[in-house]
């Protein structure tokens, strides 16, 4: 994490841009910009700024937004719920749809079912998230009027308003993810279905659902689990676009806004936290390997 912090700090300072100029606005004089820069401490040597930031980090202080003057922790707290809700719902929708589709496609390899599922998967890879988002808005919000165009309703205001706002964003974001998991499940299942123990299971007279789910899927699960972990990175990238298209006040938009304005403390804090979450998720997946496959030892 220290390396991530150092790299983020360095990259931001190398990037052109000046938060003082953004604050001062389009019409401020060069002198006003310089005064604001000094008042924010941005005219201090880089090593001094880095030292101050690391010192604050060690005390658990992520800093204060240069623009709003609010603590970064407050800004992140305001934005966590929509992003976590969107990511969780996306994962649930994606896994719930993609794994059965992948299993089905493998079981019926070469059939029209398999081909239909693969068309679906290729479409998922091919469609840009923002395009799919606008398409879904046009159909389900504008034409049919079933769902809202944009916005977020916290869970505290009720389950249905909460879900209603998240259905389209979760479908949009989940589509790519579904495509990825479907293909990986199918490929992994195809390998497993050729194993001798599967033939043995069928020979014992087990029905196909029992063979597929209890014997094949469990053994095909490791690569699928890996891709779910890797997919978190895709999810994080997709969240940024999806939150913008559906005007969800989440971490993705917070990050983009901060980058566009060069709000250094916010960018640094968000990237550190996202990196930490990414590491944690992959650690969890590594630990789950042991549960799924007792032969694995660390």
């Amino acid at each position: 994490m220290a390396v991530v912090a150092l790299v983020v700090f360095g990259l931001l300072r190398l990037t052109p841009g000046d938060p003082a100029a953004v604050i001062a606005g389009d019409y401020a004089s060069p002198q006003d910009v310089a005064k604001i820069r000094a008042s924010l401490g941005l005219d201090r040597p880089l090593h001094v700024q880095l030292g101050l930031w690391f010192g604050n980090l060690l005390r658990g202080d992520l800093g204060t937004s240069i623009f709003s003057g609010l603590p970064v922790t407050t800004l992140i707290r305001q934005r966590v719920e929509p992003t976590v809700a969107l990511a969780t719902l996306t994962m649930i929708v994606a896994i719930a749809i993609a794994v059965p589709l992948g299993v089905l496609a493998a079981w019926k390899q070469g059939s029209w079912i398999d081909r239909t599922v693969m068309v679906f998967a290729v479409s998922g890879f091919s469609m840009p998230v923002f395009w799919l988002g606008f398409l879904l808005v046009w159909v389900f919000a504008m034409q049919l009027g079933w769902l809202p165009v944009q916005g977020y309703s916290p869970l505290s205001r009720g389950l249905w308003p909460f879900l209603r706002q998240l259905i389209l964003p979760a479908l949009t974001l989940g589509f790519v993810y579904m495509a990825l998991i479907t293909r990986m499940t199918r490929a992994s299942m195809l390998t497993v279905l050729r194993e001798d123990y599967i033939r043995t299971a069928y020979a014992k007279g087990l029905p196909p659902p029992a063979v597929l789910l209890r014997h094949a899927l469990k053994n095909a699960g490791l690569p699928v689990l890996t891709i779910i972990g890797v997919g978190v990175a895709i999810l994080i990238g997709g969240v940024v676009v999806t939150e913008s298209v559906f005007a969800l006040p989440g971490i993705g938009r917070l990050t983009v806004d901060a980058i566009l304005r060069r709000d250094y403390p916010v960018i640094q804090a968000v990237i550190l936290i996202v990196s930490g979450v990414y590491v944690l998720i992959n650690l969890t997946i590594d630990l789950l390997y042991v549960v799924l496959d007792p032969r694995i030892r660390y």
């Binding site: 401020a28 003057g69 305001q78 934005r79 165009v149 938009r253 566009l260």
Partner: protein, 529 residues
């Protein structure tokens, strides 16, 4: 495409004022409810003196009040001030506040609050700095009255105190206004018609305001930022939607009531929606600039800048950037057209690329690439930069178009390094009418060298004329000086205006009472069921 003539503007403004004078609607309008707005940008900075950002200015118009205000035709009218007087020589002024003015924390507004607020504003705003430089003494004489004693003539006292756009001299409690002008205030306490609800503020997403029950509006009908500010709705919720397509869909579906700043591309579609009104609330509009850097060749040579003047074809820029002729016009006035200060003094004839090519040669241009800054994430600036590149290439200039995001461009424009070492030669800018309409407020005309706006135009003759305009109190004399300023500008070319266009706003048909003004004002508005 002179669709918006000065006469039409004045007739329109007059008609609007006439309609307002009758004022029956003021009482007939529905009260209560909430209006949901998509603002011009997300509100990140709350201090309207610390920043010149328009979204902060619009926020401040709701929360704070002003001593004077500009009406729909940009005439200055008293707002918080009840009575004011000036000595015959306009060197001594006295201002008395209206009765019943209160801040949102319940404290009365005092003359001391006004003095401290003006002093802070006077450290940041360009016109405010000029006023403070001419001021001998600014002090409260009692709780409701303060005086301004000038040490040198200043003809724009009321223009400064009623300045309609950034930085607007908003009045804050003295304890907050005492904050260093280069630091942001820590609390938002104003005396305006709406109260900022800090607990519901989510920077980058949502800002909420509630009606301030103790606000005492003036008796006059509202006009622009002047007149009675009646808070008809209980709550104003401003939620920023970054994507224009989403914002458009949200307005059409009725999820929001008012989209403040739709791109012109979207206005054509919105105009066809029977539930939506598309309205130009600032008929004065926006002026586009090609701004040269006066520090380095070739544009440190007047002939090269004059080449730009002959090169710029406003029709071409406006077609590319705006597209819909309903929303643009060509204009020869540095102070913009359709406004009382409009003039054609010194304006050159039609664009002449041959003449531009010849002037470039005469300037000694050596063929080195010109660094043209392109804010690729800002449609107006990006479009105008692309047209500039094309025209420059037609007059034989090599162009190094450097596309960056807006934040990078505004940082880079402050660099005085040579263009090939991180500096620049040309940049684009856009300004709304109140920011360019006089020689005093038009930052591009400042010839203050190091102290001038980015590009660092340097002209003692221009500075002398601008000082003369500021000192003049006779309107006819001011008009004459403004003409001289423009004639000199067309000779020295501090920048080249590339046209004038308007920015429509769009709201649902059930929204009533939207005011004509360069800033977004949310009082007087009601939402019918």
């Amino acid at each position: 495409m002179a669709r918006l003539s000065r006469r039409n503007f004045l007739i329109g403004a007059g008609a609007a004022l006439g309609a307002l004078q009758g004022a029956p609607f003021v009482h007939a309008q529905k009260r209560g409810g909430t209006i949901r707005i998509i603002p011009i940008a997300d509100l990140k900075v709350l201090d309207p003196i610390w920043t010149t950002a328009y979204v902060t200015r619009d926020h401040a118009y709701l929360v704070y009040d002003t001593l004077f205000a500009s009406d729909a035709s940009l005439q200055i009218k008293p707002q918080m001030v009840d009575k004011y007087s000036a000595s015959r020589d306009h060197m001594k002024w006295s201002f008395t506040l209206r009765d019943g003015l209160k801040f949102h924390d319940g404290q009365p507004v005092t003359a001391e609050d006004c003095v401290v607020s003006l002093q802070r504003w006077g450290q940041k705003d360009s016109l405010g700095k000029l006023l403070m430089a001419a001021t001998g003494k600014l002090a409260a004489s009692d709780r409701k009255t303060f005086t301004l004693d000038l040490k040198e003539p200043f003809g724009a006292v009321l223009d400064a105190l009623g300045k309609p756009s950034s930085n607007v001299p908003f009045i804050m409690p003295a304890r907050l206004a005492a904050t260093d002008a280069n630091e942001q205030i820590k609390d938002v306490i104003g005396s305006g018609p709406y109260r900022f609800v800090k607990a519901e503020w989510q920077p980058g997403d949502q800002v909420v305001y509630e009606r301030f029950a103790d606000y005492v509006p003036r008796n006059e009908a509202p006009s622009g930022a002047a007149g009675g500010k009646r808070a008809n709705v209980d709550r104003v919720i401003a939620r920023y939607i970054p994507d224009a397509a989403t914002a458009s869909a949200a307005l059409e579906k009725g999820e929001v009531d008012w989209w403040d700043n739709p791109p012109v591309d979207f206005s054509t579609r919105l105009e066809k929606n029977p539930n939506v009104t598309v309205f130009v609330k600032n008929p004065g509009g926006i002026q586009g600039w090609v701004r040269p850097n006066h520090l380095f060749p070739p544009f440190n040579n007047k002939k090269a800048r004059q080449a730009l003047l002959h090169m710029v074809d406003q029709d071409l820029y406006l077609q590319a950037v705006v597209g819909n002729p309903k929303y643009y016009r060509t204009c020869p006035s540095y102070y913009m057209c359709g406004l009382p200060t409009e003039t054609a003094a010194g304006a050159p004839g039609k664009p002449n690329l041959e003449r531009a090519r010849q002037l470039m040669k005469e300037s000694g241009y050596d063929g080195k690439p010109i660094v043209l800054l392109d804010a690729a994430d800002n449609p107006s600036l990006h479009g105008s930069a692309l047209v500039t590149r094309e025209l420059l290439s037609r007059i034989g200039v090599n162009v190094d178009l450097q596309a960056q995001d807006w934040a990078s461009v505004i940082a880079r424009r402050g660099k005085k390094d040579p263009p090939q070492a991180g500096g620049w030669n040309l940049m684009m800018a856009t300004w709304i009418s109140p920011d360019v309409m006089t020689p005093a407020v038009n930052a591009g005309l400042s010839g203050g060298c190091d102290k001038a706006w980015f590009g660092w135009y340097c002209s003692e003759q221009m500075e002398s004329l601008r000082r003369e305009w500021i000192r003049a109190t006779d309107p006819a004399k001011r008009r004459q000086i403004a003409d001289q300023v423009q004639t000199l500008a067309y000779d020295e070319v501090p920048y080249v205006p590339w046209g004038q266009y308007t920015q429509p706003t769009a709201y649902r048909k059930n929204v009533k009472g939207v005011l004509t003004f360069p800033a977004s004002l949310y009082w007087n508005v009601s939402v019918e069921a």
